[in-house]
Symmetry: C2
Amino acid sequence: MTTSLPLLTTDAARCCAPVAAGVMKADDAKRLARMFKALGDPTRVRLLSMIAAQSGAEACVCDLTEPVGLSQPTVSHHMKQLVGAGLVTREQRGKWAYYAIVPETLATLSNVLDPQSLRTGVGSSR
Amino acid sequence: MTTSLPLLTTDAARCCAPVAAGVMKADDAKRLARMFKALGDPTRVRLLSMIAAQSGAEACVCDLTEPVGLSQPTVSHHMKQLVGAGLVTREQRGKWAYYAIVPETLATLSNVLDPQSLRTGVGSSR
């Protein structure tokens, strides 16, 4: 049911201006919404935090199932959505899949939501 | 250094440590996921950017319908979700509803996604 279009991480790097920088372009809004949607689930937020907290910001799927108390297929399903949104990468090494954080995507989202630009906007309005 | 804006959404202000700071608590993950879910739609991302770009980071619903090309009930439905997630506040003034950005919520999300803490995590792992 879920269509997961491949999203290159360079897409995330190219996108997007802070929310307060002006009315967002439709394409940028679509791209961002996809990333936010992937984070719109408590299990996926926890999975992301687990990977991010690991040394090298990378984790084996075998280490993710127990902490969230879900089966491996369910965890893999969630991870597929994080991969599709460009938030993590997936690498198969023998039996296990390893997931690594894409810092550029986190930086993009963090920057987009940064309220600093709001003050500038407010201050420069008079 | 800090803003003197009133803390309207104490929930958002209380929540949450950066994703790389350790495995996120279930409650925090739930709270964050709700905010991200509200942003998981291109129209809502655009609406947020339109309000954020206004002077005072505030906008009348009457100015939001045309740019997104949607009816007022549809825009109001989207806005309700942004309000529910603590991303904007709503104030009725006579005939119109006015929406204002909650900078604290944006700051919370921006901080949670900040990949700076990743580097610390990676660096301090040896």
